[in-house]
Symmetry: C2
Subunit: 457 residues, 2 copies
């Protein structure tokens, strides 16, 4: 490994788009959550695929680690340069490359954020539905197989990325997928790179499937005195096949945090926040049918609205929930858990988790995308407090083990990074070895985002 030699070459090739300034290194080494900082040795800003290919060719020759960097919103330390090396920032590769009238797909560069994309799409009658909350980059969302509030209706990145351009570790450029909505042509290489967290190659272009902006959107919410009733209402909704576009759960602690943080005044009880998309009649019918379910499970104050400003307020509030939870304990950082279980196992997963957190000494509001069986506890700890970190990690580990016992997964949408490596063996066993075999086949030198996802990587 000769990182300095790699950086010297990158420096002469990229000029002021290669930085070793402390502020750049620090910014690229920090994480949204509790992880220690691991700054890279340099940051580069490529402007096109050919430059990315050249960067990788140089780094591969010098065995220099390469860490792709989008918007830095990932939660499992995906962008930490734990062995040093070069962060590749996609801030200058953030363009829409193709958007033609009549098409229901678009080609974008990885540094484009989802909010920028949807702003550009507004006039077309189309939108990109995947919404992880944070204004993540599309490349980052692809790399972690992101989902979020709308996955229950529109799917996650898996269902909404049709094709990719990828630069492999040795600089080769490949295309995966196509603009077709489906294909049976060979291995699903697109799916292989989605969620590979930069360990197999660097995504330099994405073809995204778009959806039509719904004729009518109705947002709704209702409260529950008993959390179990809210969970059961979600299960009933999914089993009946009501096509909810979002069905989000926030517990009492989360509601309290949101009220404090945003100045709203939701009743301090568990809430479901919903959205319905479709024709006027279909949406009205969905709102009515969910109202019946709410009644069946003792829902309170069921309200719905089709007014844009009220909807926006509701979802802005939901999207601020993470920061609101952090503010419950001033100065705190968080261990954010992310389990996903079969819908029918939600009550068990949820009640056990709730009891576990109540017995602990640290706060842990719970919220989630219950329609997918996916929920988070935001475990609030004091930065630098080793005992609290250990307690939070222990709670998180028990949640993950619970998810596996119930037939689920240790992460519904945040990914592995460095935060969940110690649980991979329990979830995947020999399949994790095969992931490692594939990793070493595509990246024999081992430069691609080392230390993430793969055993002993």
């Amino acid at each position: 490994m000769n990182i300095d030699a790699a950086i010297a070459e990158l420096d002469s090739f990229l000029g002021d788009r290669c930085s070793r300034s402390k502020s750049d290194l620090d910014q690229h080494g920090t994480s949204e959550t509790h992880f220690a900082a691991f700054p890279p040795d340099a940051v580069v800003w490529p402007e096109n695929t050919a430059e990315v290919s050249k960067i990788l060719t140089i780094c591969n020759r010098h065995e220099c680690p390469v860490i792709p960097y989008g918007a830095g919103t990932s939660l499992e330390g995906h962008t930490s340069a734990i062995n040093g090396g070069v962060s590749v920032n996609f801030g200058r590769m953030n363009k829409i490359l193709r958007l033609d009238p009549g098409d229901v797909d678009v080609d974008v560069q990885p540094g484009l954020t989802r909010e920028e994309l949807n702003r550009e799409l507004r006039a077309t009658g189309l939108f990109f539905p995947v919404d992880p909350g944070a204004n993540a980059s599309i490349g980052g969302m692809a790399s972690t197989r992101a989902s979020g509030t709308t996955a229950v209706r529109y799917g996650n990145m898996r269902e909404n990325v049709l094709g990719l351009e990828v630069v492999l570790a040795d600089g080769r450029i490949i295309q995966t997928g196509s603009r077709a909505r489906k294909s049976a042509s060979g291995y699903d290489m697109t799916a292989l790179f989605l969620g590979s967290e930069g360990t197999l190659g660097i995504i330099t272009r994405l073809t995204l499937r778009l959806s039509g902006q719904p004729e009518v959107i109705s947002a709704a919410f209702c409260g529950f005195d008993r959390m179990k009733d809210a969970v059961d209402a979600v299960i009933q909704t999914i089993q009946m096949g009501i096509p909810v576009a979002r069905i989000e759960f926030v517990d009492t602690d989360t509601v309290r945090a949101i009220n404090q943080y945003t100045g709203m005044d939701f009743a301090e009880r568990t809430h479901l926040l919903l959205e319905f998309h479709g024709s006027e009649k279909a949406v009205a019918e969905d709102v009515r049918r969910f109202g019946e379910i709410s009644d069946d499970f003792n829902g309170l104050d069921y309200m719905s609205t089709t007014k844009a400003e009220e909807r926006t307020a509701l979802w802005t509030m939901r999207h601020k929930a993470y920061y609101a939870c952090l503010s419950l304990r001033p100065g705190a950082t968080a261990v954010v858990t992310d389990i996903c279980v079969p819908i029918s196992k939600l009550p068990e997963a949820f009640e056990e988790t709730r009891a576990d957190i109540e017995a602990a000494s640290i706060p842990g509001p719970i919220l989630g995308h219950m329609g997918d069986g996916n929920f988070h506890a935001v475990l609030l700890i004091e930065p630098g407090n080793a005992a609290e970190l250990a307690e939070a990690k222990n709670l998180a580990k028990r949640m993950s083990e619970r998810a596996l016992r119930l037939g689920g997964t240790i992460t519904g949408e945040h990914g592995i990074g460095i935060g969940k490596l110690d649980l991979m063996d329990a979830e995947h066993g020999a399949s994790w070895d095969v992931m490692g075999d594939i990793k070493r086949t595509l990246d024999p030198v081992g430069i691609m985002n080392p230390g993430k996802l793969i055993r002993g990587n």
Copy 2:
């Protein structure tokens, strides 16, 4: 390679579940379409995963080719034993392994057919939506990433398989995915095996996502004098986001074939066949909205029905279309094409294909899943007529090249097998090499379904 030694071991291990009878070999070597027969040297019928593992361990040691065999309904010669070896027939691994009340997923063995599965599900209020027409095995559908008439609404196997148990070439048994609806946990190993056509391992168990049986189902159809109007009506439907459950296209030749074959009396013009799923009000609204589109594009005789027997008649008829087309030319066999293009490119892809076939000397009815951008020409040729086979293959090649030029794929749902190998380089380029690298990593001896999908496999 020592096929005889492998079979001798299999014979002593499996007894009368290992056959070398000519009728068994012939049955497993033939294809639904125009391919020459390539019988295996033996056929085995395992009864559980451990036996599959032992079969592969034996075959791997003797470098004996292994060809998984489900219902034999694939169209690209996937089950041909082109280098001889052992066909593994899953007829005795056809059970439902788990189906619990309240769950919206099910565990099945690969030999179960989709019709058997849906018969078992009938009482549960759930169904498995992927419907390729033929009564294929679930394992075969997974191996070719099958889709069919309902993919426009419910997705294909990619969206409806949550997890797999797979036996690798060396006999190791791995699990992929879970029962959770989504996951960001490591590489998407489930997606890697879906569509891998038995070249990476053998699927021995599948966890399938189920959907709720719709409250109301309405089938509908309408005719068009101009094919272009029908195509434009499909595009408009998709762009408006009307949640059609099926939207199928049959051209005039196909309608004529169906009338002859089934005794129906559809007007001999292009038709769209549709289905709408949902609540009573939502379905009524969808039927009405499509009616407006039909009017806008000069649709004729738009009819809809919610009567089960009428719906069944319509779809039985559609599912017989392949055999109906064959009967247009008594004694014929077929080269079946399968391109899929971006929705906005359907008119171009379709018109050029139509003109190309009209200029040829062989008949080629066109039908397809237009809502996905996927359509087929059934090119009818005389068995053994080399000139006609060459002409059909040339038409098929031009269709595939057209699909690629328009941003699409050479196969929407039938897969590669031996039939489309010569087009893989044009579609995937260097990405095909990476598929080969992955293949050799998982199957270094090269026993898994040799000659299919991979370059020089």
